[in-house]
């Protein structure tokens, strides 16, 4: 693996040179303060001083809603209009790990052409980060990234260490060879190591994901799930903000004049009531507690059993989002018999008083 040094002032000129003919996506700050990946029209929009975006980067490959087909009486025409040349800049390691999980699912387990096409036309440019009180990547083992990116930018004081992760990444560097310096000094290495050590100490919470599959099985009938179900607003947000959730629904959108229809695909969430409803109106998981169990079984048990790692990358989005504090941290802590500070727990005590 080759590593170069890039002066900070060269960053935007470099991005400009490589993003010609492609959509450059990067984190931007919304007026209300939170961040979001957006297509960049002006480099001043980019804000790298961010911890996490509201929606995960999977929205860039598979938007919340897009058309899969135009169906007429005679044929289906596949619609790949969501596929364009893209560069995503500024992805944190947890989000790149999440893309690898999406790859596992959509490229290896099932071949989803809509994902594969979008993914194959996208370059991944990662960026280093600093944890906040919700970050669980160290626990999830996703704080370090070794694959899944084309370039990775580690921020030092005045420069970046730029790690080349693929031959495509190498091609990018060659467009502006003058910007990149191969001469990495001992001092640079020292700075990087110190930064790594500092970052390691900055995590305030940890979860033992290894124990989770057993605890999920052992506590499958635990009253905990009733408590969670009682408070859950069934808003689907935990799924929508999760970078590894991949469920979707399909709908016909008929045209007004032409005898044709769009077949559209939109994100679905197992925590929503309609998710487990089948033809005839039967619902397998009408109770919110059952739906939450499904969600956490997927995140904490099934995936670990199959792939040896959790389907949680510790990005902290569910922790930041759920209004009633049902999230990977409080659920895992609770499974582990730790005390939790969560609305759902206070609510359970309130209503059973």
């Amino acid at each position: 693996m080759r590593i170069f040094k890039l002066k900070k002032e060269y960053l935007f000129p470099f991005l400009e040179s490589i993003s010609e003919g492609a959509d450059l996506w990067a984190p931007t700050k919304k007026p209300e303060g939170k961040h979001s990946f957006q297509i960049i029209k002006d480099f001043s929009q980019i804000d790298l001083d961010y911890t996490r975006t509201i929606l995960p980067p999977r929205k860039i490959f598979l938007p919340p809603s897009f058309n899969m087909f135009k169906a007429t009486e005679k044929k289906y025409e596949a619609d790949f209009s969501h596929v364009t040349e893209k560069i995503i800049f500024g992805l944190h390691p947890c989000d790149i790990h999440a893309i690898l999980i999406m790859d596992q699912f959509y490229k290896h387990h099932y071949n989803d052409p809509y994902y594969i096409e979008a993914r194959n036309n996208t370059l991944i440019l990662g960026h280093s980060c600093w944890p906040d009180e919700h970050c669980l990547c160290k626990s999830a083992g996703t704080d370090i990234i070794e694959e899944g990116y084309d370039l990775f930018f580690s921020e030092l004081e005045k420069e970046y260490l730029v790690w080349i992760g693929s031959s495509k990444g190498d091609d990018l560097i060659r467009r502006k060879p003058d910007f990149f310096d191969e001469n990495i000094t001992d001092k640079d290495i020292q700075k990087y190591i110190e930064w790594r050590e500092e970052k390691d100490k900055a995590f305030s919470v940890s979860i033992d994901f290894k124990n989770m599959p057993d605890l999920m099985e052992l506590k499958y009938q635990d009253p905990l799930w009733e408590k969670l179900g009682q408070a859950c607003l069934a808003c689907g947000s935990c799924s929508n903000v999760c970078p590894t959730c991949n469920c979707y629904n399909i709908n016909d959108k008929p045209f007004l004049t032409e005898n044709a229809s769009h077949i559209s695909r939109c994100w679905d969430a197992c925590t929503l009531e309609s998710y487990s409803e089948v033809a005839g109106g039967e619902n397998f998981r009408e109770a919110r507690s059952l739906r939450l169990k499904l969600y956490y079984t997927h995140k904490l048990q099934a995936y670990i059993s199959k792939y040896g790692k959790p389907a949680c990358v510790g990005c902290g989005r569910c922790i930041e989002t759920c209004p009633v504090d049902i999230n990977i941290k409080t659920v895992a802590q609770s499974l582990d018999n730790e005390t939790v500070d969560a609305f759902w727990d206070r609510f359970a005590k309130e209503v059973t008083k």
């Binding site: 209300e32 939170k34 929606l55 607003l233 007004l256 759920c322 209503v351």
Partner: protein
């Protein structure tokens, strides 16, 4: 020539006429809509309306006079399917916020004094399903263009209408809004049926519940959550009742059963 187009009627009871107006707001689709079906009645845009048999009647507004009850029953008799078109028809609308009949009578008197109305007697605002069977509900204050067009084209193509079972939060997250409830605002997003495109939170304004309650809304939990955030019981109940009319009573009763 045999006319096999669907016979459709748009009707307005008491409301702001916003749902019918919204149909005219489909400017680019309006001529296609009129050509696709045989519109028998649409008082806002046509003068040659007829009162015959219908395949589909879209009824906007709530029932607030005895005459409207008669009109509504007549529409039901003539139409194979009736759609409650907009929040007023679905839930009674903002004018159904007096849950207690005595409250309503008192306020009627404040507005109109002792006038004995000669044309028709007023009744407390009620959704249309208080008087007739309704085949489909299309809430919204007013209904959304997308939901109306989707409903209309599906019916036109012989498909069952699509249901919108999710709360506003789903679209709100798609739109990457910062959660206003989490920020401590009195947002009714999790309790409210989706369809508006989370338009208020998109503008940093908390959801006021104008689509009415979503199926399976966890009112109790949100109620306690809002209380914990410092809102008074009165404030929360009032805001929840603004659009959901007498139907919110069921929820309140459910709440009152909960221990203190």
């Amino acid at each position: 020539m045999k006319n096999d187009k669907l016979k459709i009627g748009f009707y307005e009871l008491t409301g702001c006429a916003g749902d019918c107006l919204l149909v005219t707001d489909c400017e680019m689709e309006l001529i296609d809509i009129f050509n696709a079906v045989d519109i028998q009645s649409f008082a806002m845009v046509m003068s040659n309306n007829t009162d015959g048999e219908l395949d589909l009647a879209l009824v906007e507004g709530s029932v607030t006079t005895e005459k409207e009850i008669e009109e509504l029953k007549d529409i039901r008799k003539r139409a194979k399917a009736v759609v409650a078109f907009g929040t007023c028809a679905v839930l009674g609308g903002v004018q159904a916020r007096f849950i207690d009949p005595k409250e309503w009578e008192k306020n009627l008197k404040i507005v109109y004094g002792n006038t004995e109305f000669t044309h028709t007697k007023p009744v407390q605002s009620k959704p249309i399903d208080a008087f007739i069977d309704v085949d489909f509900y299309l809430p919204g204050c007013p209904v959304s263009k997308e939901q109306f067009l989707n409903f209309f084209t599906r019916i036109l193509k012989g498909n069952p209408p699509e249901h919108y079972p999710n709360p506003v939060c789903v679209t709100c997250k798609y739109n990457e809004n910062d959660c206003l409830l989490k920020k401590g605002e009195l947002c009714l997003g999790p309790l409210t049926a989706d369809g508006c495109g989370s338009i208020c939170p998109n503008h940093n304004i908390p959801c006021n519940g104008c689509w009415g309650p979503v199926e399976g809304a966890n009112v109790t939990s949100e109620f306690y959550l809002l209380k914990e955030k410092g809102f008074s019981v009165d404030e929360i109940k009032k805001k929840m009742a603004n659009f959901s009319g007498t139907k919110i009573t069921d929820y309140f009763q459910q709440l009152d059963k909960e221990p203190k």
